[in-house]
Symmetry: C2
DNA sequence: CTGAAAGCGCTTACAG
DNA sequence: CTGAAAGCGCTTACAG
């Protein structure tokens, strides 16, 4: 980096003090219009660009928020980023983006980077394997507000914004019931993820409300690998009374399940209805797909999380714990074409 | 932000000077092992976390590189990020990530943010509509190195890293020729994008090498919208001698083209072979897809761009223009299942 | 309305 | 091996 123009350089040229130059550029009301104009003119012609590092340092604010996400390949994290970006942009904040790649050790080292860089706030989705939250408690110690999104933290004294999983699962299941299905299976995510339990809960509630008894033989747990999904599907299809509809944890599982049926039970393919969470962009090109999917509004999740975060940053009460918020964004059921 | 522990606090406690504490933590060889140990022990027990803002300011380095990308929804940009991240991580650099959302005005404001924040280097993919590069020339003025990726800058005096589009297009076309096609169409991207021209060039070279005359009736330009692709396809299919194979600019176009055939020319669907650029993640679930695709190694593009950038950052010769590099990453032809 | 001065938390050349 | 001091570029309470 070359050295840039400084306030001092301009002060010298204009025969005024550094303070006056600084105040002029900051539109301080104490400065005369004439002086302001002179300063601004010079700044313009010299291409003065303020050194933000110096400001950050002086003001003890970085005007930066940290973002820790597991993996940007999952497109919903990108949507969340866009929501966050919208709010951060308005506040003139920058975003330091990092990925944990689902590795808790990487997550730990990122957390320290964030603290060292004195981000003014943090938004994070923890890894699938994060169970120890003492890491994130450090932010409280140093007074940096943290909002968790999408992945529910295992410890519930953190602020958390996500979609309403229970409600979404309820709707997805209810949709199948309204289509006159009664043998409805659920392929759920790993029980270690709180979201899996929330969606399972919605499934149960929908059955209950419609007086359909819960049959645990129809509930299978997978880890998102194709192999596990195939195993789950095989188990379901081998039942004396196999399901006529399946609500799965998410799109990816549905696609593997459908691929399995295509391969092993092609004649059943058309007669089994799927619902799930997610809306993959390539859906329109698929010949076989879920009849309906829950569209998760991750843009809104990101936006709300950022709004919440800036409330905390701007209220600036580091010692006073405002309690933890828990925001659930409603999600919509989309009937696929 | 609460105030954290400072070097001064620790110096006082240990009855030594701030310089000694600083040097100890930085493992300065002039400091005795004993002193270092004492300092580090206290730092540990007090949970000292260095204030990077202060370091950055003092050292006149931000240890941050800026990233300007058009849109993270395009998954190849995410791959590029991962490549960049790998290198930046090793150098202990942070990444400020921004999206231009294909808007040159947004791009301009981002550029200023980057300069204000004194990033040590920048990696950018310009918007589809960027024609004026004076914006990016500002970085040269202030001595911040810039590498362009993926989107070739309209002005060729910038360093640029991308995949080898000419070679990829050559291979994709050649693959069709080897399959004994001779009526091979090309649906190209907008001529305003240099990449479109590069891929068209590869197409022409493959034809030429195989002594197939170029027939401009077989070449159509689209803007990536479904409507335009349909129009292009209709034109091709209405030819007296329609193509038996089509090389398209990218996956998305192929999918729209196939959807068009399904709708309007279902009987021709099976007999037309497609090749293109890109490898969409959902490919395995599609019933109709290109016979082969060029896999662009964007991870490597990002990695190489970052390596180049850090060479420039670390060599630290802001005045000396090292000339512009142009790196082309080879890409592989993948036969789809 | 303007300016002198202190200070944010570090690093580093220099002196001892 | 350790320390005193300067200084990075800003902002801001205070004095005039």
């Amino acid at each position: 980096m070359k050295k840039g123009i400084t306030l001092k350089d301009m002060a010298k040229k204009l025969n005024m003090s550094v303070s006056t130059v600084s105040k002029s550029l900051n539109n301080d009301h104490a400065i005369s219009a004439f002086t302001k104009a002179r300063v601004k003119e010079l700044a313009e012609s010299w291409n003065y660009v303020a050194n933000e590092s110096a400001r950050h340092f002086k003001l003890n604010k970085s005007f930066t928020i940290g973002l820790i996400l597991p993996d940007l390949q999952d497109h919903f994290f990108v949507e969340a980023i866009n929501g966050i970006e919208e709010v951060a942009g308005k506040e003139n904040y920058n975003i330091i983006l990092t990925q944990s790649h689902e590795d808790p050790r990487k997550e730990e080292s990122i957390v320290h980077v964030m603290i060292r860089n004195r981000v003014d706030g943090l938004i994070a989705a923890v890894t699938k394997h994060t169970i120890d939250m003492t890491l994130f408690e450090k932010f409280r110690t140093v007074g940096i507000p943290v909002i968790h999104i999408v992945r529910e933290p295992p410890n519930d004294c953190f602020s958390y914004v996500s979609v309403n999983n229970v409600e979404g699962a309820f709707r997805a299941t209810n949709f199948l019931i309204k289509k006159r299905h009664s043998r409805i299976a659920h392929i759920m995510g790993p029980q270690t993820m709180p979201i899996s339990l929330a969606r399972f809960e919605g499934y149960k509630q929908a059955l209950h409300k419609n007086r359909i008894p819960l049959d645990m033989a129809l509930v299978r747990e997978v880890d998102f690998s194709e192999r596990e999904t195939e195993k789950a599907m095989l188990g379901l299809m081998k039942l004396k009374s196999p399901p006529t509809a399946i609500f799965t944890f998410k799109n990816d599982i549905t696609l593997d399940a459908i691929a399995f049926l295509k391969k092993k039970y092609p004649r059943r393919l058309a007669s089994i209805d799927f619902t799930d969470f997610g809306t993959l962009p390539l859906f329109k090109y698929l010949d076989h797909k879920p009849v309906a999917s829950i569209e998760e509004n991750f843009y809104e999740v990101g936006r709300q999380a950022a709004i919440l975060l800036f409330d905390m940053i701007n209220e600036n009460k580091p010692d006073h714990d405002p309690g933890h918020s828990n925001i659930q964004i409603p999600c919509e059921l989309i009937v696929n074409r």
